[in-house]
Point group: D2
Chain length 394, copies 4
Amino acid sequence: MMEQTPRSLEIAQRVEDFVRGTVIPYEHDPRCGAHGPSDDLVQELRAKARAAGVLTPHILADGSHLTQVETATVLKKSGLSPLGPVAVNTMAPDEGNMFLLGKIGTAAQKARFLAPLIAGARSAFFMTEPAAEGGAGSDPSMLQTLARRDNSGWVINGRKAFITGARGASVGIVMARSTPTDAKIGATMFLVELPNPAIRIERILDTIDSSMPGGHAVVAIEDLRVTDDQVLGEVDEGFRYAQIRLAPARLSHCMRWHGAATRAQEIATAYAVKREAFGKLLIDHEGVGFMLAENLIELQQAALMIDWCAAALDAGHSGTHESSVAKVAVSEALYRVADRCVQVLGGTGVTGDTIVEQVLRETRAFRIYDGPTEVHKWSIAKGIKRAALGPQKR
Amino acid sequence: MMEQTPRSLEIAQRVEDFVRGTVIPYEHDPRCGAHGPSDDLVQELRAKARAAGVLTPHILADGSHLTQVETATVLKKSGLSPLGPVAVNTMAPDEGNMFLLGKIGTAAQKARFLAPLIAGARSAFFMTEPAAEGGAGSDPSMLQTLARRDNSGWVINGRKAFITGARGASVGIVMARSTPTDAKIGATMFLVELPNPAIRIERILDTIDSSMPGGHAVVAIEDLRVTDDQVLGEVDEGFRYAQIRLAPARLSHCMRWHGAATRAQEIATAYAVKREAFGKLLIDHEGVGFMLAENLIELQQAALMIDWCAAALDAGHSGTHESSVAKVAVSEALYRVADRCVQVLGGTGVTGDTIVEQVLRETRAFRIYDGPTEVHKWSIAKGIKRAALGPQKR
Amino acid sequence: MMEQTPRSLEIAQRVEDFVRGTVIPYEHDPRCGAHGPSDDLVQELRAKARAAGVLTPHILADGSHLTQVETATVLKKSGLSPLGPVAVNTMAPDEGNMFLLGKIGTAAQKARFLAPLIAGARSAFFMTEPAAEGGAGSDPSMLQTLARRDNSGWVINGRKAFITGARGASVGIVMARSTPTDAKIGATMFLVELPNPAIRIERILDTIDSSMPGGHAVVAIEDLRVTDDQVLGEVDEGFRYAQIRLAPARLSHCMRWHGAATRAQEIATAYAVKREAFGKLLIDHEGVGFMLAENLIELQQAALMIDWCAAALDAGHSGTHESSVAKVAVSEALYRVADRCVQVLGGTGVTGDTIVEQVLRETRAFRIYDGPTEVHKWSIAKGIKRAALGPQKR
Amino acid sequence: MMEQTPRSLEIAQRVEDFVRGTVIPYEHDPRCGAHGPSDDLVQELRAKARAAGVLTPHILADGSHLTQVETATVLKKSGLSPLGPVAVNTMAPDEGNMFLLGKIGTAAQKARFLAPLIAGARSAFFMTEPAAEGGAGSDPSMLQTLARRDNSGWVINGRKAFITGARGASVGIVMARSTPTDAKIGATMFLVELPNPAIRIERILDTIDSSMPGGHAVVAIEDLRVTDDQVLGEVDEGFRYAQIRLAPARLSHCMRWHGAATRAQEIATAYAVKREAFGKLLIDHEGVGFMLAENLIELQQAALMIDWCAAALDAGHSGTHESSVAKVAVSEALYRVADRCVQVLGGTGVTGDTIVEQVLRETRAFRIYDGPTEVHKWSIAKGIKRAALGPQKR
């Protein structure tokens, strides 16, 4: 694994202590619902994190971020509970939104939109659109939400889906087509305060995962008016900024769920060294021991992939390729880990009595969120072709 | 596939029509909760099934059952909706309980306990015990619930877990150790009317699946008194009866979930021939088309396995081996089918907007219910060894 | 499994006795080379088969064939040794060639070309072309070999690859484009006696498999002249005949290799119940026992798939779809079976000391021969699309 | 990936140039036989390597070794051809034997036994014993070869199997039980010059792999007399030394085969961007592109695992655990890579026309050599149990 810096180890240790000591006891709190922990639970947890000095631990007091390799160390620990990233403010989509605002925002935008997020407010990223209407999903060129120039700024209309955390968010980043021609597709990002009467939450999707506050919303944007100072970065550069946000955001998912899968393995192991069947401890059945061994191997591999991609980002690469590679490998591996943990636990594994069942559901969704495995493979294959034939051939 | 009889095809067609026409519209009924459809929804559906002449379709008016091969034809169709088996009364554990009562019950017991079930009441099978207390799970020899002889009959004490449908059931079959010696383990089955004050539902487990009315209960049995006429079959023969129930009950799970996975494939296919991405229909992406092809292959294989095991049962075999083989193959295959369907649907796949997400959860649990895959493999391996070395060697 | 007829069971028993008693001892004969058993070994085995009354056992004395379901019973037993199909004349490509000649040939053609094959001569099917030259492989429309009409008949030119058994064959079926227009691609099949100076074997490919006599040849066809009575069936109908041959030929591969994988499982099981490691028999290690259990499950499934496809052919279906489904499922399953057997045998598994190593190599090739898995999935996906949208949509 | 040092990059570049420029053209040399390249081919290649300054590139002129992380960089490049490690003397078992001699040998032993190996002679490691006789395989405690003390030294008797490179070797390390009591099992390593009349090669095994010069021999050791100065290290410490050799030797297999699988991927990619089927380039079929993408992911993961384990060894860990983890992950991954490359190549893939077919066979054997996957999982599971329960519990 990459060299760890003392500061990242120190922060990670504090985060781990906080998650294990303070957050885990909340896992069976009735405020953890199908659409994620309730907002008062979120605020209760964040207050404790603030008190413990572990809120937004990957952004330092001066506003600088840990490196990605350092962030991995910290975020994996925050993920040891599905509630951990919520508690310490390393959760999606906030982590990615803070990253993007830090990179692209003006000083005024940072003060207005970023500072509250670092302090514990929540945000949403309005990009994905309803599949049933042919909107943008894995293929961003299908973006349909439209931002029309008008005297005083822009007017935005469209519908969005899978808008994580929209309910309860204070800040939103809205992606819309800003060049309504067929010839070229330009998109622009707009910053908005939430709630906003022009952004109507139609419903919260019932999804297999349940860790994200606010759940995943379907949203109608109706004549949303924004002024020029709400444009994030440059007009028509939205796709480029989406790329900047994309790779680290994807990777931070890997980090957090690595922590959760590690915890699932701990739970399954603890069960296997205690529960007996057919005359011996479960772990002494090779059928069980092998599953735990496979998990250990896959967790190790996943950690290495995360660090490798993090190092590429730290070295200044866009990470588009690396994060596709890491996302496929890590999401599929963590899901298999969770699946084996369920199987080790037997009947208990499919109940909410442990978080293993949740980790299974979360990692199942993770195989689709931020690009389904198949879309990443498709993109990696394109890269292989390009490398083999030279760019001119495609 | 095995020859289908005209009567099974005719019944299956009526069941399919009913499920597609009447049951599927209920799938988004708010009374479908995390612990299964509510009892009033169950009764509403069963009333409609009764009216349509498809209630308990695998048991004929004279009390005789369809053969297992015929039953497969019917139950697969009932499973086209997760609500289907609930509606037409082919659901677990009722189907297995009715089967067992039909085989072992006295005439009086049938009138008292079986007739109401055929007419649409629900039942529970009290066998599994809490793992945390070292109770019986996959290894039945760990049975701890105790039936003590006393003047007027028996007194039963113990705790049970994963008691599907206990809440709302009218009839229960309770399995308990009846020979409290270490030397030999005998078990007896007892029939009880429910609810019963001596059978206290402590809680309903939060499980990943949600199709079974009443959910899965943890139950305390405290001084439950039963009389001799409530003994099902012979005293101390409970393990043998459990075997009789076991194979067809396992197999009927395979049948029902085969139907559900078939429906998931229909939904994924319909989506893939409509939704476009990257310039073409999803199904024209080999990454998607191959998944649907793999599903078709696995559904075909699973159907063949079901019929093969059913034919073995019809031929008078115990089916212990065959149902282990079929259960592993079918449950793992159907889960992969459901998993691919989720993946084909992308974001929509992990939402409750289609039943695919539920089918994934249900088949996940199915890989553990009625014996985890690993326990069946263990048992199959024992059989291979016995066959190779002769029975005397082990 | 499908009903077995008494005659198929009787023939299968005799074939099994012959293979186990007479053929297996030849497995380590030094005449079994990298390019298959030598011709004198083939003839020695066939003489013994003839004497034992098991030569060409699936074709009856009156020239009629067993049904496909019956054939499965017999061919699985012939496959218990990789040498078995060679010995009893149920081998590819002869089995498929005899089938096709029986279906399409004229009486005169049958006397001239089919009778010697039934009596034990060998044949070749000249269809596949070299990939490096862009010739026909999985995509038959790429056929480049050309048959030009001329006064006295036809003149054929082209190159062929993977021509199994060409060396040593007495009869050949040559597929060539007979309508040299871009508009429509017609192909015709021609019957030839071999060896023929116009058909030059350039080299025998070094392939991973080694069971087929004569190996797989690369062949140059240079001004091969044939007369009209050598046209098999009708001119320009070659693609249709290829389909007729295709499904049963594919399926007979499945049958034979099912036998071989069954034998591999026998060998691995015998080893696992004898060899000890870490204090107990290998089979008592779940790591080993589970692999044998998985093999048993997959062998069972493969047998069911074979019978299902055979029944479809017997019912008069073209079997194009069914044989694609069965070929993917069976070839992939048998390969996994062989792979696990190797693993059970440990070091011994990768040596030629048992035939398991060969079965692994043969089934590896089988995943590509007669259409790689991916081509079949592609074709199955096309069928799913057609079924969903109706034929007019594609 | 770990930081690469300038010296390792420089050496690796020279090795790569040599392998690509000089070694690859030999791949179709007829002296590459089923039992590995012939000795005169080996010597021809090594002479060229010596001239190019790349013979034994991982051992510096002063006798010191590159670090394991550096060695990985070099050995992966040497493995780009199956002949590469043979040519540059980074092959098993020599690489491991040189490592062990460098660690444990006396100065006199190094001069006598190590120096010739570094200069290009070959060696063998006599440890594994025939399974059929119950000898030591994965379970070293089953060691049967016996070294008996006698006046002038030791007399050794036993049989060995899978002795790679014994034929043609100049140096041997023989492992034998030196404490013939049941109570404790001690083993000692003895150094011998080869050939030796007391070490009789009974036969060369026909194995699925074919890269190692001399193949894998079955050997009878009959009254082999050695003197005390031929004892490597201390008497009765053989198992400990085997451990010292084990981890780096295992890992060097991973390095070399990583190179070979990388080359297979290059070959498959080159084919996929050139060959068309069904109207487009193979790589534009997702069925093919996805396989290449999966390979890219797995090659990346495997490289990270190798570096991680190498870093652990460089940090002074025994590497027993890490090399088990890496060996399972890497060998299984590289095999899947090779398997997919075969599949991409279609018919060509199962021929010797490219080295892909060989890489498949070699990596198949690799999944068993140096401990089958299952034995490593078993050992990893033991470690998990120990870590969970503390050492006293087992």
